[in-house]
Amino acid sequence: MFVDFFYTMKERGIPVTPTSFLRLQKAMNMGLVHSLDDFYTAARTILVKNERYFDTYDQIFAHHFKGVSFVDPTAVELNEIARAMLEEWLKDPEEMADALGIDKEKLKKMTPEELIKYFMDRLKEQTEAHHGGNKWIGTKGTSPTGHSGNHPGGMRVGGESKNHSAIKVAMERRYRDYSQEGPLTKFQMEEALKRLRRMAPTGPKDIVNVDKTIYETMRNAGEIEIIFDRRLKDRLKVILMIDNGGWSMDPYIDVVQTLFHYASSQFKDLKIYYFHNTIYSRVWADPQRLLKPEQVDDLIRRDPETRLIIVGDASMAPYELMHPNGAIYIDATPTGASIERLRFLAKTFRYAVWMNPMPSYEWDYARTTQAIRQIFPMFELTLDGLEKAVQHLTSLKK
């Protein structure tokens, strides 16, 4: 039963398993499903295991049981969105600029027609390729251009469901907001980086070591001798080096900031340095890169077990990286090519990774990125990338 329904889900990219499908059959045989509404709920809870797919599920359900065609935004819908957007724009141009990611000044100069065209182009881009959630204007939860009637950030639920048939509920597509990847939040970073911790005994001795206690008790001719140990605590040392210069890093400020905030609240022993594009003889402890320079050579005195995380887009002019006098600062004393500095760092700190905020498919376009990849293992600055980086760091054996 409902085999088609099942396969449509699979085709549309919901990871469904035969086991769960059989389970649904079991639920129906047990008489748990009395109506289409019940079926909607039961099938979803049993088959769909992530709220990301709820929206797709709603669409498939509506398609399957009512023949609603799969929606890529229709002309009418687009017009509707455009109209709503125009209104919003008249009310609050600034917020609009933020939402669309256009410069404020530029936006002011645009005519309504131009604006709508720009907007439509963005939207079409999205319907063609389903990646690049940052451009998906229509359903962006916080965007003032939110799809007509979709409450920003919230969804209709529950109380109303009595008056709605399952199909209607499914057609409302209440879970639209969840169908895109959310931004990397502090909490997610915490999840990923937690595993980096290196436990070492510190603090007061307040844990009983059973093996030693028994041994010592025996030695003591049966007179109990309790042996205490120190607790295991995280003693991880981290050096975070952030590329904070130049326009090329600007789009990633948010995500880097999140990483920064997380790191500074989480790791007890954290040093943060800044650089521009690549590393020459010095890095700076202050974000302006003026007051507190630190010689890269001095870093050799640090604990070699320190984890070094470099964040940067690794794309620059090749001579900046390769040429012995490539430093773009006038006062920088020539210390050899920057690439040598990077090799030096990689040699000093065995546990080192390079986090690149650019998507990995763009890495091949920059020669410098490729060069740096040969020195440091490079990962995308996304949740997945962070996890891989952490895995890499923890899998290294002494």
Partner: protein, 282 residues
């Protein structure tokens, strides 16, 4: 056992407003004997649901609060070596030192398995533990039994507990884990639903107060640049605080003044952001 199942259908509790969808999901999961995995924004009542089921079906509730350093065995049982050592030295207890079983204490999962009647087992914030813990635990819950290696004994569940698992993480749990659970995502309630929730918690609150609190609350959720938006839990606590303040008048909220902001925004950056924007709005 099947007759028992039919009689026990979950339909809501005194302090929990349940929508039909969720009730159906809980009942399906109970009948299929599958753990139910609940996700959703913090403070939308994931944990409360387990309490509500326990209350409504009159079943004892056993809560396993997962911690990041937790090992599965701690959730199953503990072998109290120190007491045994002590007893063997002084021999003044009634326990039989040569009987190791006397020193085995059941952990939360063990308690749920050995209980006299069917229990609700709430496994709270599973995402805190690592993947191994999650997968191993699901093995135990799947087979409904585990071994105590010290005494070579298998503990089988006497009654299959109703298992509710909550997770805050956006990150996916592992596939084998998800494969063994039913899943539901608790969405943030809409204002009407929220009204019902507030009514349940504060039955005697006057209409105007409820109106103004809820509308202010949804307004505050829309402030820009806030990392942790206030959720149901924060709203309930906030109303409780407003109620107990003799100087508070609902009028104040209409005028754009928001007392006890710290109850709603708990991160200092968020608090500052919110205060700024409220002030700017005047």
């Amino acid at each position: 056992m099947s007759s028992e199942k039919k009689s026990s259908k979950f339909s809501g509790a005194s302090k929990y407003v349940l929508d039909d969808e969720l009730a159906e999901i809980v009942n399906v999961s109970m009948s299929l004997e599958m753990p139910l995995l609940l996700k959703g924004e913090p403070g939308t009542g994931k944990t409360m649901l387990a309490h509500a089921i326990a209350e409504s079906l009159q079943m004892p509730l056993i809560i396993l609060n997962v911690k990041s350093s937790m090992k599965l065995i701690e959730a199953l049982y503990q072998y109290d070596t120190l007491t045994r050592l002590n007893d063997s030295r002084f021999g003044d207890s009634k326990r039989d030192v040569s009987n190791i079983e006397a020193y085995i204490k059941m952990g939360k999962i063990g308690q749920a398995f050995t209980a006299d009647k069917r229990t609700i087992l709430l496994i709270d914030e599973i995402d805190k533990a690592d993947n191994d813990f999650q997968d191993d635990m699901l093995d135990v819950l799947d087979q409904m039994q585990f071994d105590i290696i010290e005494i070579d004994k298998t503990i089988k569940a006497r009654h299959r507990p109703v298992i509710i698992i909550t997770s805050n993480a956006k990150k996916d749990l592992s596939d084998p884990f998800l494969g063994r659970c039913n899943f539901h995502h608790i969405a943030f309630p809409n204002p009407d639903m929220m009204r019902m929730i507030v009514d349940v918690h504060f039955p005697n609150l006057d209409e105007e107060m409820v109106d103004v609190c809820i509308s202010t609350f949804y307004h505050l959720r829309e402030l820009r640049g806030v990392e942790k938006k206030p959720a149901t839990r924060e709203l309930i606590n906030w109303i409780r605080a407003l109620k107990s303040d003799p100087d508070f008048k609902p009028k104040m909220l209409r005028q754009g003044r928001v007392p006890f902001l710290g109850i709603l925004f708990k991160k200092s950056a968020d608090f500052y952001q919110a205060a700024q924007q409220i002030k700017a709005r005047g």
